[in-house]
Symmetry: C2
Amino acid sequence: MQTTFAIKGNLVHTPQCGKLELHPQAYLVCENGTVAGIFETLPEGYQSIPVEDYGDKLILPGLVDLHVHAGQYAYRGLGMDMELLDWLEQNAFPEESRFAEEAYAEAAYRIFVDGLLHTTTTRASIFATLHRPATLKLMEMLDKAGLPCYVGKVNMDRNSPDYLRETTGESLAETRRWLEKSGEFTCVRPILTPRFTPSCTDALMNGLGQLHREFGTPMQSHLSENLSEIAWVQELCPGTRFYAESYARAGLFGGDCPTIMAHCVWSGEEERALMKEKGVFIAHCPQSNMNVSSGIAPIKQYLREGQKVGLGSDVAGGAHLSIFRAMTDAIQCSKLRWRLVDQETPALTMPEALYMATKGGGAFFGKVGSFEPGYKFDAVVLDDSNLPTTRSCTLAERVERTVYLSDGRPCAKYAAGRKLF
Amino acid sequence: MQTTFAIKGNLVHTPQCGKLELHPQAYLVCENGTVAGIFETLPEGYQSIPVEDYGDKLILPGLVDLHVHAGQYAYRGLGMDMELLDWLEQNAFPEESRFAEEAYAEAAYRIFVDGLLHTTTTRASIFATLHRPATLKLMEMLDKAGLPCYVGKVNMDRNSPDYLRETTGESLAETRRWLEKSGEFTCVRPILTPRFTPSCTDALMNGLGQLHREFGTPMQSHLSENLSEIAWVQELCPGTRFYAESYARAGLFGGDCPTIMAHCVWSGEEERALMKEKGVFIAHCPQSNMNVSSGIAPIKQYLREGQKVGLGSDVAGGAHLSIFRAMTDAIQCSKLRWRLVDQETPALTMPEALYMATKGGGAFFGKVGSFEPGYKFDAVVLDDSNLPTTRSCTLAERVERTVYLSDGRPCAKYAAGRKLF
């Protein structure tokens, strides 16, 4: 692998939330997997490095999917007329149980990894299922494909069918075995994944907190997605003042434990204050929030109050892996929220959506999601010549059209300096 | 052209709203452009007719787009961060004015017609611009492509920039010349198209009413899309009790004058009663209603109260021509409406969305949008083999996945018995 090289094209990124930075026909230099800089002409020291010239194409930072269930990919776009609990019982749980069988898991994850590879997503934080061997297989496949993802073996020891539930002891022991094995991968990392509070007893949650302290593993889960779920958590966890405390009291809510919480549609003031204090990442999954009738999260307010926000596809609550689609869904939902719920808060803009899709969610992975020097060299190259128009568009307009109209399949993709295709 | 033939595959349609009817591996027979019937095996009289066997593919009735602006296609996916009036002034009006130049119009409409041809849409009701020659050019192109559409030369004699406004006299004279010329096409028909009440003086609206009575031409326009527009119409039309009366008092609101009204997001009780009484078609355009922050129309209620409802892409308020996308947008918006506005009214279902996309909107064109005998032979053939899954899906599940996940490009398409590709 060439360690120093450049790509050339129309570079677009969002170092600041809400502001597109455009570099038409510029060079993006990579050194050892990291961005060395953006240059209009190559400086002295880089004159002899290899350059891949993408002509008039668009080059964006690789996009980040902060929340996706790999074990539900076979079900995307199915059962969308059902409500959440029916959908879980009839679709998600039976499907996830099939991952006990390694051959099935391998076939299903092959389709998922191939799908993900050809989207604009370079990094994702992924729910597998509760099965350790299948989870390791998924990690191996992603690692080989060069996609630097977090992957979680799911934990669940209550409130699910017998065929998809562990005992507390099994769940913790399997998680430990999985963590011990997870150091073997090059770019894929483990993330603790209690499914959500209703699926995890206090003993399990506390045990996962101990594993976090022992291994330093980050965590991901779901939070305040819908109102009946919130009421249920209140019942299950007497003594907590709000949902997030069910994670926080086990030491699994930000601070020393980097945390992604999916949804946060209905988080109240205290919960939001704790998320902010602890630097918890919010994975906004607008399409899923529509499909399972959850509502519209107040994302513009979260950005304004300084929360960390990224986007998630939430396949298979969401039907599409494309984070371009998540961007336009987020904008459209924010417009409906303005119209129907809160006319004090304006809609999200395209540059804000691009920020969330790149640097916003990317921050969970370190210096990721921007072309600033020192950031991981993650990039996707997009050909918009197949979106014909009689208009001559500015570069910013080309980005907007591409996000709204393209099929979300880049023609080239780099992660941490490695060219994936 | 073969006048009697059959196609074979997995037939799916919705003769009744809300109910999928499935005919796996069945024959659909065409006689003189019309459906003769669905057969499990070909009856005696049809043994020797040519059969196109589409194997395991899906065959749906051609979809209907009840509301689309061909003159805005170059702008789709652009300026989506603007509000409606800014968007009209900065995007739509300047773009539409370019259609005064015939070469520009031809190039732009070529892109539109090619785009439309390769979607699942077989029939559409289309806004052109106010320019007669360009409108005739569009009609000629659609006619050649075999797409049986309604096309309207737009009328506007107030409240638009000088460069995109006619005098009342010009507008009526040009409309008459256009109508006289419009009889020449094989499958494309004219439709009167006052842009919307704010763009048309009473004199113009009354003149169009007279043209309707003279030529029998149907009409299309916009109704109750957003609240400030409604307030504006109230100011412009003293004496009307609600927006629809501004059309109705000119004889342009259903009854003898078949009418499509786009949007109807905020129609009140009296307006809805009049729509129902007059058999007005509602073109539901959920994506546009999100993009320009209009809100969510109460479509489930409209269906329950017996209104005639079809779907529209409303390009370029909507960014996508795909009526599959309009179907899923409609379902998703109805779920948010349930959650945020009205928990008495459940969400739309996939079979309801398919009905609106086919027979619901199709009824404006006559017997269109179903595979029942006597209906126009409009059909699209879809290959879902490129949507891999480890699940074995039922036929109904395959339809749902295709609507949610496919790129909306059929592999074969028929309109009124003519194979378009």
